[in-house]
């Protein structure tokens, strides 16, 4: 029966726990496209035979193969689209620099899509909030208070933050265990 390989692609994606991106199944996709090519060529020759040779009994067979072609197309498009949804989620949950393990799971085209998406998002965020822009991927929930008490679990040493030198003083203090107050942005950076 046709479209078995396409179903394998779908099942593989469905099995991945919610939101995780499995490796790009280039081999599988190539096989699906080859099957589509074969189906198309068989249908082409049968259509010619039906028209010129008067074999109208071939029409159900042509329809059968055509349905399989549409099915393969549907599976391929759904596979690629679902992967893009997962990749988009990565930008929001993980940030703009992805770990290598994840990057190896993406195809070259998906990587390009990710970069374009990052760029669009960055342009949009810069256009908000006056001159500075607003990072909408942080602070999706409103904070309860301006500062949060933090306890240092481990001696990390000195920690530099790209907020500017005025903030550096906070993190040098963090070296000693005790309670300190940190703004929410800094905290997000530290918990990742």
């Amino acid at each position: 029966m046709f479209c078995e390989k396409a179903m394998e692609l779908i099942r593989e994606l469905h099995r991945a726990p919610e939101g995780q991106l499995p490796a790009f199944n280039e081999d599988g996709l190539r096989q699906v496209l080859e099957e589509m090519k074969a189906l198309y060529e068989q249908n082409q020759s049968d259509v010619n035979e039906a028209k010129s040779g008067g074999r109208s009994d071939l029409i159900p067979t042509i329809k059968f193969r055509h349905c399989s072609l549409l099915r393969n197309r549907r599976c391929t498009v759904a596979y690629l689209y679902d992967r893009l949804l997962r990749i988009r989620a990565l930008r929001w949950e993980y940030g703009s620099i992805l770990p290598n393990a994840l990057r190896f799971h993406m195809s070259a085209e998906e990587m390009e899509w990710f970069n374009n998406y990052k760029r669009s998002l960055a342009t949009y965020m810069r256009s908000l909030g006056g001159d500075e822009g607003l990072d909408i991927t942080q602070d999706v929930k409103p904070p309860k208070s301006l500062y949060i008490e933090v306890r240092c679990l481990k001696d990390y040493g000195e920690f530099e933050v790209d907020d500017g030198t005025s903030v550096l003083i906070y993190f040098v203090c963090l070296v000693e265990t005790g309670f300190h107050r940190v703004s929410q942005d800094g905290l997000d950076l530290l918990t990742s």
Binding site: M7, R74, E93
Partner: protein
């Protein structure tokens, strides 16, 4: 669970499946019994037991009984039934419908076809004279089972739920999970964890894997 990943929802319970929904693709892969109304040449290779052999151009003869996936049956079906006519699978027929009306809770819907409701809804496309009864049966079955699903999903906190979901079909399992998520969120809020900042699940999963890579 990743909060930023919004998968395409299933449309199977409505008039038409969603093209891009993975759930709908899996659902429409399930098979149903059909009968060919015309011979189909050159497809004998797929149905070896039925094939009429090389003399008839390797055809599947007229009147053969086959099991085809839903997507194929939908594609080949038309009102005049020129290529196929469709039979209802057993579970949607009179006999089983009576069982469901008696007590819907005892049936293992996962074994009967893990997409009972979705598949049944899409079956209505085939214009069977029993359509009205089938749709009523689907609705009443769900009404009968819903209460138990809701109760169990709201009362099973931090336990192994495999026994509870074993006999549910895919749509019911989705409902159960939604219920569980609601319960877990509420418990988090009660414990005051709702305002704590935690690394997202997605990030944690990738971190864990990275650690084991280093160990290899």
């Amino acid at each position: 669970m990743s909060e930023a990943y919004f998968r395409v929802e299933s449309g199977a319970l409505g008039p038409e499946e969603n093209f891009l929904s993975l759930d709908d693709i899996l659902m429409s892969h399930e098979k149903l019994p059909v009968r060919t109304e015309t011979a189909m040449p050159r497809l004998g290779a797929f149905f070896l037991e039925r094939s009429a052999g090389a003399e008839t151009d390797n055809a599947v003869p007229q009147g053969s009984k086959l099991e085809l996936p839903l997507w194929l049956a939908k594609g080949l079906f038309d009102n005049k039934r020129r290529i196929l006519s469709v039979e209802l699978p057993k579970i949607y027929q009179e006999g089983w419908r009576t069982v469901f009306s008696a007590d819907a809770n005892v049936v293992d819907l996962h074994k009967m076809g893990p997409h009972f409701y979705g598949f049944g809804s899409q079956l209505l496309h085939f214009d069977s004279p029993e359509n009205a009864d089938i749709s009523q049966s689907l609705l009443q079955t769900f009404i009968g089972r819903f209460r138990r699903i809701m109760d169990s999903s709201q009362n099973a906190y931090n336990e192994d739920t495999s026994v509870l979901v074993a006999r549910l079909d895919e749509m019911e399992r989705g409902l159960f999970q939604t219920g569980q998520k609601g319960l877990n969120d509420f418990q988090c809020w009660e414990k005051g964890q709702a305002s704590q900042i935690t690394a997202s699940n997605l990030v944690q999963n990738y971190k864990k894997r990275k650690f084991t890579d280093m160990e290899d």
